[in-house]
């Protein structure tokens, strides 16, 4: 045996053997790397699927009547299925008058973020009209006025009457149940005032002024809010989308050429020029004017401040979808004016009075109705006005201004 081992053979076989070994080693390396990276990619894909599903689960988890227990501007983390691998962080903050829910699901380095505006289906009481029991006169209906839905009325009740010699043309005064109202509006949600304060605080922020609002800007809700602040009046002719607040210490005018999507406007006076179409939340100290033909799409909001005598004016042929809210006791007559031919889909809430000649698909809650004309002030008069709770789509979600609305939370829209 040792003779065979000691036998000498041609050395030329050695480089050949080494070369083959080297080539095989390279193949092995490539094969192993391919297997490793394929596996790694698949594990990442699996985790990414799971994290995305966890974000969906977290949303269901928090919308299951948990959202109201989360304090505003706070967040918490939880392990969804208690297995130590399904972590999510849920945070709630205000986006104007609405609640913004942010969910981050994560596993190692894989993260999935979602942002959504939350609204409430509210209590199913078919409330169409709530007039506080503070007025000494009955609610008088004249012309082609319609009230479809349940009405909470002052103790003097409701009656048919005439305005400008035109009598009431309807067959029944209220197409729904009637109840006695209280002297004040129904209880508001505790979070409303802090939310409004948060927005109006933007007026006092000491931030750098912008010389000119950019022509186009988009900001994700994953980022910090961008505030475009000016002490001068602003004429908006821009395309703005997302997590942006335009703040002026003077006045904001919105040109119909501008394209605004889910942004916030804050100023003492806000004026929408004729023909503007978009989705905004406008917060004013004194005055909001929607010129004729303006379309503000859901979920928009028109809000005026509590401490000032503020007014909201809605001109003819306006379509507004969302909420109009006027807080505090405003003494202007009227504090909200709704022109004929305009349509509001949603909720109108004011501690003041409303002059209403248009159509409201949804709810009106107010101190009183008024008609202020040359002949004087007609208190608690409705002339050619429609309030129709049943025409509000069932899918409509309220922002939760009234405490009784804070039920059945759902997603209004997903934000980027």
């Amino acid at each position: 045996m040792s003779k065979i081992i000691d036998k000498k053979i041609s050395a030329g076989i050695l480089p050949l053997t080494l070369s083959i070994s080297l080539i095989l080693a390279l193949f092995c390396m490539a094969a192993i790397l391919l297997a490793y990276y394929s596996n790694l990619l698949w594990i990442q894909a699996k985790n990414s699927y799971r994290v995305e599903l966890n974000a969906q689960s977290a949303l269901e988890y928090v919308l299951n009547n948990k959202i109201s227990s989360i304090p505003l501007n706070s967040s918490f983390s939880t392990d969804l299925f208690h297995q130590g691998r399904d972590s999510v962080t849920i945070s709630k903050r205000a986006w104007g008058i609405y609640n913004l829910l942010s969910i981050e699901a994560y596993s190692n380095k894989i993260r999935h973020n979602t942002n959504q505006l939350i609204g409430y289906a509210g209590v199913q009481n078919n409330l169409a009209l709530y007039v506080c029991n503070s007025s000494p006169t009955a609610l008088t209906l004249a012309g082609a006025t319609e009230i479809n839905g349940n009405a909470w009325l002052p103790s003097k009740g409701i009656k048919a009457g005439t305005y400008n010699r035109i009598g009431y043309s309807g067959s029944s005064l209220v197409a729904g149940e009637t109840y006695r109202s209280e002297s004040k509006l129904p209880t508001l949600d505790d979070n409303i005032n802090p939310k409004l304060q948060q927005v109006y605080d933007l007026l006092g922020t000491k931030i750098e002024q912008v010389k000119e609002v950019p022509k186009a800007m988009e900001n994700s809700f994953h980022n910090q809010m961008k505030i475009l602040y000016s002490q001068e009046s602003i004429l908006l002719q821009s395309q703005l989308k997302g997590n942006i607040a335009v703040v002026s210490a003077s006045e904001i005018e919105i040109d119909p050429s501008s394209n605004l999507d889910n942004i916030i406007l804050v100023a003492p006076a806000i004026k929408f020029k004729p023909g503007f179409k978009g989705c905004v939340q406008a917060f004013a100290d004194k005055f909001i004017n929607l010129a004729s033909g303006v379309k503000l799409l859901y979920p928009s909001a028109l809000i005026t401040n509590s401490t000032k005598d503020s007014q909201i004016n809605i001109s003819e042929n306006v379509v507004f979808q969302g909420v109009i809210y006027q807080s505090g006791d405003t003494k202007l007559n009227p504090s909200i004016f709704i022109s004929s031919g305009s349509r509001i889909e949603g909720q109108v809430i004011t501690h003041g009075s409303i002059e209403h000649h248009g159509i409201v698909y949804g709810q009106i809650l107010c101190n009183s109705f008024e008609i202020n004309d040359n002949s004087g002030l007609h208190i608690n008069y409705l002339f050619n006005a429609v309030v129709d709770r049943f025409s509000l789509p069932e899918t409509y979600l309220f922002p939760g201004i009234l405490a009784s609305d804070i039920q059945y939370p759902e997603i209004i829209t997903r934000l980027q």
């Binding site: 065979i4 081992i5 000691d6 036998k7 000498k8 053979i9 041609s10 050395a11 030329g12 076989i13 050695l14 480089p15 053997t17 080494l18 083959i20 070994s21 095989l24 080693a25 193949f27 092995c28 094969a31 192993i32 391919l34 297997a35 394929s38 596996n39 698949w42 699996k46 699927y49 799971r50 599903l53 969906q56 689960s57 977290a58 269901e60 988890y61 919308l63 299951n64 009547n65 969804l80 299925f81 399904d86 289906a121 059945y408």
Partner: protein, 127 residues
């Protein structure tokens, strides 16, 4: 001083080596082959659908099954068979969370071996 130089001479391989040297080389070659064989087997397994593609398909089936059950808001246990895979949905009440249910989708092959489990929460209070 004489300059030292060394050049590789290809003619060196015209010489003779011992069989033991060749044996060592062959053993090395064999080992390399074995490693290559295993690596290649893993790749083949991964690519041929026995491992990754099967799991990928199971995932797709499980997700579409879960989505369908959520959209239909079907809150009952259910089991289906799809392309040699058994998909079983269990509806579990979540402790201390009234109104919240957990959908658990378990995917097994024909031998009963578990391939994956998906879990998801869904509300049912409004129904």
């Amino acid at each position: 001083m004489k300059r030292s130089t060394h050049t590789f001479n290809i003619n060196s391989f015209n010489g003779r080596i011992s069989c033991s040297t060749l044996l060592e080389t062959i053993v090395s070659l064999l080992l390399a082959n074995i490693v290559f064989f295993f690596a290649f087997t893993i790749i083949l397994n991964s690519m041929s659908g026995n491992f990754m593609i099967r799991e990928y398909k199971a995932h797709l089936k499980a997700y579409s099954f879960l989505t369908q059950e959520m959209l239909e808001r079907n809150f009952e246990d259910k089991a289906i068979e799809l392309n040699n895979l058994n998909l079983q949905k269990k509806v579990i009440s979540v402790e201390n969370e009234p109104g919240l249910l957990q959908f658990e989708i378990k995917v097994t092959d024909r031998t009963g071996k578990e391939i994956l489990v998906l879990k998801n929460y869904i509300r049912h209070e409004k129904d």
